[in-house]
Amino acid sequence: MPNSSVTTTYEYGFHDEVKPIFALPKGLSTRTVEEISSIKGEPQWMLKNRLRALEIFEAKALPTWGADLSDIDFANICYYLKPSDKQASTWDEVPIKIRKTFEKLGIPQAEVEFLSGVGAQYDSEAVYHNLKDEWKKLGVVFLDMDSALRQYPDLVKQYFGTVVPISDNKFASLNTAVWSGGSFVYVPRGVQVTIPLQAYFRLNAQNMGQFERTLIIAEEGSFVTYVEGCTAPVYAVDSLHCAVVEIIAKPYSRVRYTTMQNWSNDVYNLVTKRALAYEGATVEWVDGNFGSKVTMKYPCVVLMEPGSRADVLSLAVAGAGQHQDAGAKALHLAPNTTSNIISKSVSHHGGRTSYRGMLKVAPQARGIKSKVKCDALLLDPDSRSDTYPTMKVDASDAQVEHEATVSKVGEEQLFYLRSRGLTENEAVSLIVSGFIEPIAKELPLEYAVELNRLINLEMDGSVG
């Protein structure tokens, strides 16, 4: 057993036998970065970018705020691994072992139901892509990032690193240095992509870092929903997931980005997600964090121009040995902008959740509205929840609301449900499911179903 906690039986903790065709040796150096870039046959500017990022990564100290990251052993992580020789464009072309892994996760089923464009990342390489013909006709681009760099080099060069700069934070620098895979989405002016674009991916090689890079550009008046979900096998050695997501929402566009992450209990999940919202644009982050050893993730929207809007729904569930440090950031730089942040966290078996939020209102941002609501639910006395809201409001007429609640599952609530024939575990699951319902209802159906399964699994033996 990888560890002795009650929740080690990880539903998706299987590990199949796909042999990576190519893997770099563990550890990080200029050489590693050069090799990654060379294998991918990248343009010179990207290599330079990577090398500069590596320097910055090495120069920056680990953050001293937030969760404890001191156990990450950067030398013991594999920074590049390529599982399959070429990109497959239909499901049948995907290697059978890999297909089986996806089948265990229920992908084809979801595909049959309503996945129309799947960008599935297997280890650090996307192996499967399928984009509906009509979107192609509309000019929508949905590719893995490596292919996008080859096929749309100018577009990538124009926007890459403009939302999350190379030196933004230590882990954004690391991602920029060694990134592989991730998605690239481009939606032309006025195009409404009504069916969500979905990327399903998972870590697979022991000690494997996952450094995907995602860039979404929504042109004026367009609409797109992007959905990603991850499950990972359980390993005893610490793993690192360090992603960057950049979104550019041009005037009057709307972008929704939904994530449901369920990392195994040994993963450091350190992700930088940021969006720029221009005039009248709306950006929505729906962010669900399960599993991992440590998560630090604060989806951010920079409200650049008047009338833009940010909606963030954040969910974190922490069990034994886990620390979920999650939250949201809204930066109001322009007048009449709106932000709405709802955070829900559940701590059980001594797990720890923290809400860390930042609200900034610039002096010129008149008439803004911001509402932050964070609710924490504690399932036992050993569990912990903290709230660290930072507010810097420099506009006198800002309407700012902040509300935080911490509740415990009460004996009377449990007795009420048990008196109806539900066991204590069932009762706890129902209470937790109810608590997170405002977020679950925003998820696509199959994610909502998976969320419920995870809740039932996680809550097993929660109170006692």
């Binding site: 009460g410 004996e411 009377e412 609530q413 007795f415 009420y416 449900l417 048990r418 008196s419 109806r420 024939g421 539900l422 066991t423 204590e424 069932e426 129902l430 209470i431 499911s433 109810g434 608590f435 997170i436 319902e437 405002p438």
Partner: protein, 252 residues
């Protein structure tokens, strides 16, 4: 095997205080018994202990249901075996829809009894006729359990659960409190219908006579100071109405 709920010399302690001090009661199918008494007489404590509330310790005595000793059973096992408590203060579970809650409870009991679970569609059919009877709108099913409910809505949800779960024995703990006369009638009609259609046995806890005008008890028990002071027929209700509880109190 008998079909009774039998309470034998029950003693209940909560927070080191003995709140039930040797109660005997017996309830048969189709019977409506009223348990009356002043505030603090131990009625609600008795109800909680019967349902298996962990904070209400049964220190001596026994409870039998259909001949089985259920004294040490957990609440969920009692429920699946056919015991139901309509709460005086039903708990709110925000975000848990009434429908999901009811179906989960229904299926948990079915599973415990080795029956097959009901699917969403069958359950809808089952619940819709009950909604009509209790004059509840189908939109009620989408709301969070008791979350922001009025007093009347809470009590009607209790009766809806009773009608769906179809227990053998129901304890109604001050179901009349906080109800206006119209809601009271709806609730009483709901209970009467279950008694008439499948011989539900009911123990009605109240300290008012109001509800008993509609529920027509077969037996009436007066409880005070943790004990049953007197048992009799419906005429006891009139006695209480005329003279209050004072004549039943132990003035030792």
């Amino acid at each position: 095997m008998n079909h009774l709920l039998e309470i034998k010399n029950l003693h209940v302690t909560v927070e080191q205080k003995e709140v039930v001090q040797g109660v005997y009661l017996s309830l048969a199918p189709g019977e409506v018994d009223a348990l009356m008494g002043p505030n603090g007489s131990g009625k609600s404590s008795l109800a909680s202990a019967l349902m298996g509330h962990p904070a209400y310790a049964i220190t001596s005595g026994q409870v039998f249901m259909g001949g089985q000793d259920i004294t040490s059973w957990p609440a969920e096992k009692r429920a699946s075996a056919g015991l139901f408590l309509a709460f005086q203060y039903p708990q709110a579970i925000p975000g848990l829809s009434v429908e999901h809650f009811l179906r989960s409870a229904y299926n948990a009991q079915a599973e415990a009894r080795g029956e097959k679970p009901i699917n969403v569609r069958e359950f809808r059919t089952l619940i819709e006729s009950e909604l009509t009877a209790l004059q509840l709108n189908p939109a009620f099913l989408e709301r969070g359990v008791n979350d922001g409910f009025s007093g009347g809505e809470k009590k009607r949800l209790e009766i809806l659960q009773l009608a769906i779960l179809k227990p053998k024995f129901a304890i109604l703990d001050e179901t009349d409190s906080g109800l206006d006369i119209d809601a009271l009638k709806i609730v009483a009609e709901g209970v009467n219908r279950l008694v008439a259609t499948y011989s539900l046995a009911t123990l009605v806890i109240t300290h008012y006579q109001r509800l008993l005008h509609y529920l027509k008890p077969t037996h009436v028990h007066i409880m005070a100071q943790g004990k049953i002071m007197e048992s009799g027929g419906p005429e006891l209700v009139d006695k209480v109405e005329a003279a209050g509880y004072q004549p039943f109190m132990n003035h030792a």
